[in-house]
């Protein structure tokens, strides 16, 4: 009947119409599938990174301060013992001058604790940014790959590989507070008429550098 169709016209050119409709449908289906996969992968990334919430960063911040606070406490205790021993040796411990020196140490401790807490918040913010960058990279990969299973696996891997900033030991924050006493002690030990007891006993002596205010004499 094709001759008739040709004669009266209106017949479609071969089965082009069906073929093109099928091609368009396939093209659409593929794109819809890709979009669905990208959205699925994106949801997987969001789920994997949901663990990095405010409590997580609060915990990190606490870990940061927990690392430095004992060091401050230890240095404060050592510096205070040394100062108490020095002040006691000079007979000025129970004086307003001595009280002033002790409170200066406490001030230095408070400043150090303030600084550590501030840095802890900054470190948590830095980590938040780092985690967000990683998430952004995964979003880009997800759009390129459109393979939700692979992207989710990579997201979980990346989420578990997030590392915090490196922590370094605290410097001696009370060194400057004790400088005056160290200088005095050194000068006193070299003096012809030393004032400090551990400098008057003869032989090698040392001011108490640590511990609870004890000093060693004549070693």
């Amino acid at each position: 009947m094709s001759w008739f169709s040709n004669l009266i016209g209106g017949g479609k050119k071969d089965d082009t119409a069906a073929q093109t409709a099928a091609l368009i449908k396939e093209m659409r289906d593929r794109e819809d599938t890709r979009i669905a996969k990208v959205r699925e992968g994106q949801a997987g990334i969001d789920t994997a990174f949901a663990q990095f919430d405010q409590p997580y960063f609060d915990k990190f911040k606490q870990t940061y301060t927990d690392y430095y606070n004992p060091q401050i406490a230890d240095q404060y205790a050592r510096a205070k013992d040394k100062m108490v021993a020095t002040l006691a040796g000079r007979g000025t411990l129970e004086s307003t001058v001595g009280a002033g020196k002790i409170s200066d140490l406490a001030k230095t401790r408070a400043e150090s604790e303030t600084q550590v807490a501030n840095q802890g918040v900054d470190a948590a913010s830095q980590m938040r940014k780092q985690i967000d960058d990683t998430k952004g990279n995964l979003y880009t990969l997800n759009s390129s790959a459109a393979d939700p299973a692979a992207v989710s696996a990579r997201a979980v891997g990346a989420a578990s590989a997030v590392t915090g900033p490196s922590l370094s030991p605290l410097q001696n924050v009370f060194a400057s507070a004790l400088n005056t006493f160290n200088s005095f002690n050194k000068a006193d030990s070299m003096s012809m008429s030393p004032k400090m007891p551990w400098n008057t006993m003869g032989g090698t002596s040392s001011a108490p550098l640590s511990g609870r205010g004890s000093a060693s004499y004549g070693r």
Partner: protein, 205 residues
């Protein structure tokens, strides 16, 4: 009379054939154009959906900058940082110093007063540091929010770009599918009419 009638009939047939061919060509062109336009309309509808989705992400983020929102966030950030700092400050006590029992009360009082002063000063400094750091925290939060919205819009834009890239191909395919062969009536009538007119012009068949 016969040649004249044949010439007139041939001319009419030729004209009718041309008319049919022209109408069929016009109909074919119309169908092709309509197919391309239908593809374009479908694509525009999808693009509208993408644009709406992207606009939704954008509007949500812009909500962060509505009147009062930033003030609230700044106050929250400043409060959080201040709390983080103040809670880390050890309260100094005069008991830390091993005074003898005979230590003058004025010295004990001076130390207690100075220790309290140290704590109060540190707390005030913490508030100042918290107020200052709160600005940075707020704007980092804003930046992260904008980055998140940017990623989500970028994803939608990727869909949109792909849609735009597919459109010409889809239009070409739709046009090809809408095309129909012209009938032979037009050419047959035109040819027959021309033939009849030609014979008539020669004086008969």
């Amino acid at each position: 009379m016969l040649p004249i009638a044949a010439a007139i009939t041939g001319g009419l047939a030729s004209g009718l054939g041309g008319l049919i061919s022209q109408r069929e060509a016009e109909e074919d062109a119309r169908r092709r154009t309509e197919a391309r336009m239908a593809s374009l309309r479908r694509s525009l509808a999808r693009q509208d959906a993408f644009a709406g989705e992207a606009r939704g992400h954008f509007d949500t983020r812009m909500g962060d900058y509505a009147p009062g929102v930033q003030d609230t966030r700044l106050a929250d950030a400043q409060g959080a940082r201040t709390e983080a700092i103040t809670s880390n400050i050890t309260v100094p006590t005069a008991d830390d110093v091993p005074y003898s029992r005979s230590a003058p009360a004025v010295v004990r009082g001076t130390l207690a007063k100075r220790m309290l002063g140290v704590f109060n000063d540190a707390t005030e400094r913490a508030k100042t540091a918290g107020a200052l750091g709160g600005y940075g925290d707020t704007w980092q939060g804003n930046a992260l929010g904008v980055a998140d919205t940017g990623r989500r819009i970028a994803t939608v834009n990727d869909f949109s770009r792909q849609e735009a890239a597919m459109l010409p191909m889809e239009q070409d395919l739709a046009e090809a599918g809408a095309a129909k062969k012209p009938s032979l009536w037009g050419p047959i009538l035109s040819a027959g009419g021309n033939l009849a007119a030609s014979f008539a012009g020669r004086g008969g068949f």
